[in-house]
């Protein structure tokens, strides 16, 4: 009887603790295997492009039934770690790898921009009659807690003709680490020196004020519910759920409404100064109609992959994704990579050592 009790107690302990630390653990099931004439490629990483990647993989599988791509959307950080540990063939990330991360990897890693995403400010303002316009510094000051009310002169200046209430702004941010937060804080760091010093850019930061919602749906839900709130979500999410979102002033001084076209324009504007390895932030990009809170999302691969079969398959897939694949992007809410960038990417694909 006593023993039975001990067992039960221990079991209770374990389940209680297990519930507490239920964080995902990287899996090792990504060993590439070519079985029964089928080639399986395993990848892991960012959640943001997961919908379009899944679509691509299933479309590609229809064209090439012998190729199967398994993608685990475990987050950019996890994708980079698994790629470095070589448990997956390719990784995916919403932020380019840092020099330090590149150094830690056992081989040279190449970045391939696949599509673009954007982050939009979403709001719930009582009585706002038209789309609210934001400048970068205003967004930074609101998220720093320096601009506290909607009728602040700094906001009113850009919004002549819109009546904004004398109410406190409730700031909503992502509570989970995410590429969305990275893009947003990266942008704020570029337009506000104070933000750069105090907060910085990262997938999760020490937010000066506000409440955290989990995921795009969490932030959107809070913004919808909370009068006079301001948050930020992915463009795709805002479009699909018809949440009011603001226009943002770009580096050329123009207020741009976010759309897949204005995001592609931002990438085209940044293409001129594109570094050879594609590790670039295109937030606050200059250019006609360029939406400033835009970013690439990347697929990561080794320059000298171990497995030649997988390398061949993956290079072929990437060529398809950068041509036919791009045509699917806008209908799914992602912006296509501009043609000049695709051209240089194809050159980089040829660098991958395939015999």
């Amino acid at each position: 009887m006593k023993k039975l009790f001990a067992t039960v107690a221990l079991f209770a302990l374990c389940t209680a603790c297990g519930g507490g630390s239920s964080a995902p653990v990287s899996t090792n099931n990504a060993t590439p295997a070519a079985s029964g004439g089928k080639t399986q490629v395993n990848g892991a990483g960012a959640t943001f492009p997961n919908p379009i990647y899944s679509k691509w993989f299933s479309e590609y599988n229809k064209l090439h039934p012998d190729v199967e791509v398994n993608y685990q959307s475990i987050g950019s950080g996890g994708g980079i770690r698994q790629l470095a540990a070589q448990t997956v063939f390719f990784g995916a990330s919403d932020a380019p790898m840092t020099d330090e991360q590149m150094k830690q990897a056992p081989g040279k890693i190449l970045h391939f921009p696949t599509v673009l995403g954007a982050v939009v400010p979403v709001y719930n303002i009582e009585g706002a009659s038209a789309q609210v316009k934001f400048t970068g510094p205003v967004l930074a000051d609101i998220f720093l807690g320096k601009i506290k009310r909607w009728n602040d002169p700094a906001i009113a200046k850009a919004n002549a003709g819109i009546k904004l209430p004398n109410s406190e702004i409730t700031v909503v941010h992502r509570s989970d680490g995410s590429g969305t937060s990275f893009i947003y804080t990266d942008y704020l760091s570029k337009v506000s020196e104070e933000w750069k010093q105090k907060v910085g850019a990262n997938a999760s930061v020490n937010w000066p004020i506000g409440v955290g919602g989990k995921g795009n749906e969490g932030v959107a839900g809070l913004v919808k519910q909370t009068p006079n709130s301001l948050g930020y979500v992915e463009l795709v999410y805002a479009l699909q759920n018809k949440i009011p979102y603001g226009a943002v002033q770009n580096a050329s001084g123009e207020f741009v409404t976010p759309s897949t076209d204005s995001v592609t324009a931002a990438a085209a504007g940044a293409a001129a100064n594109m570094p050879k390895d594609f590790r670039v932030s295109i937030t606050n990009a200059p250019g006609q109609g360029a939406y400033p809170i835009s970013s690439f999302t990347w697929i990561l691969m080794y320059e000298e992959p171990k497995d030649q079969t997988l390398a061949k398959v993956m290079v072929a897939f990437m060529k398809w994704a950068l041509s036919d694949g791009q045509k699917i992007a806008p209908e799914m809410g992602y912006a296509a990579v501009p043609a000049n960038v695709v051209q240089t990417e194809l050159e980089q694909l040829n660098q991958i050592k395939v015999q």
Binding site: A12, L13, A16, G19, S21, A23, N206, K214
Partner: protein, 325 residues
């Protein structure tokens, strides 16, 4: 014949003995893994990790790494769980007492089924309910809180709906079925002679129940503590309603953060090594606290069970029952 039979017993004993050892090995293994995976953070921050307010993954100024301290998360976890127990404790005890002492037999099974059904609802469903129903409700309560009350630190802060109060309420609902069913078991274990003795002395039903409750109090405390252990580790529902803001505050209206929530939120995108180790150290802290709470509660329940065997002799003394009633 006889020998082969006892030999079989021996093997059976060994065979079954493997399982508890396995469970023990898992617990120890988790502890070791948490420790070794958080070693960077343990070395860097030492014991200060428990008492530092700042949680900032981004390096500032000349610092090469972020700053990590668990205090706001430890605070949020303990505060929300204790508040949940303050709410859920009396309610659960009421449920347990009614079901074991007063409930008409026909109603008992359906009611037990219903309370235990609460435990079967997935955490995320509670979270969704919290976000769409409870939080707007709490926001209305907060909006209508008189200004004079807001002067108290307990009710300060903007009316967001999200925050400590919502988290504590969700947790209270989630732990109620656990505490009430354990407390009911405890009351069931109270020997009949206890109540009969009380009645024999002319006690009313209320007084007889008090005798039973006081007899089972250690077990009931154990049940409450087990509920506490569960509340500590609750992740999904809490993170959806607590507001996820790592600031230490007494305010029920303020958004705060818990240990389990920060791990769930930041683990996937923690690309920086130290950030990851700090998150796992939070897991270690939670592991230690949960282990401690669970061990304590189990000890209390065990001591209660020992008493159940030892007590009746002494308890039959009329004088003692009289004083208890």
């Amino acid at each position: 014949m006889k020998t082969s039979r006892s030999g079989g017993d021996g093997w059976f004993r060994v065979f079954l003995g493997v399982f508890p050892v396995l469970v023990l090995a898992i617990v120890v293994g988790i502890g070791i893994a948490l420790f070794s995976e958080s070693i960077l953070s343990i070395r860097r921050f030492g014991i200060n990790f428990w008492f530092t307010d700042v949680w900032d993954p981004v390096p500032h100024g000349n610092a090469l790494t972020g700053q990590f301290g668990a205090k706001p998360f430890i605070w949020g976890t303990l505060y929300s769980s204790i508040l949940a127990l303050i709410i859920a404790g009396p309610i659960s005890l009421g449920i347990a007492t009614y079901l074991s002492e007063l409930c008409p037999p026909k109603l008992r099974q359906p009611l037990i089924f219903l309370t235990e059904l609460l435990a079967a609802i997935p955490s995320i469903v509670y979270g969704l309910w919290g976000v769409f129903v409870l939080v707007p409700l709490i926001r209305q309560v907060e909006v209508h809180t008189p200004e004079s009350w807001r002067q108290f630190p307990l009710f300060s802060g903007p009316p967001l709906g999200l925050g400590m109060l919502s988290a504590a309420l969700i947790l209270a609902i989630m732990v109620t079925p656990f505490i009430s069913s354990l407390a009911r078991e405890v009351l069931k274990a109270v020997p009949r002679t206890q109540r009969e003795g009380a009645y024999a002395l002319g006690a009313t039903q209320w007084e007889a129940i008090r005798v039973a409750l006081s007899y089972g109090r250690t077990g009931i405390i154990g049940a409450v503590m087990l509920g506490f252990g569960r509340a500590l580790g609750e992740t999904m529902a809490v993170t959806m309603v607590i507001g996820n803001n790592p600031r230490v505050s007494w305010s029920l209206f303020a958004p705060q953060y818990t240990m389990a929530a920060v791990i769930a939120n930041e683990f996937t995108e923690a690309a920086d090594e130290l950030h990851l180790h700090a998150l796992i150290e939070i897991g270690l802290v939670l592991f230690i606290i949960t282990l401690f709470v669970n061990a304590l509660s189990r000890l209390l329940i065990w001591s209660m069970n020992k008493q159940a065997v030892a007590r009746p002799k002494t308890k039959l003394e009329p004088a003692k029952i009289g004083s208890a009633a």
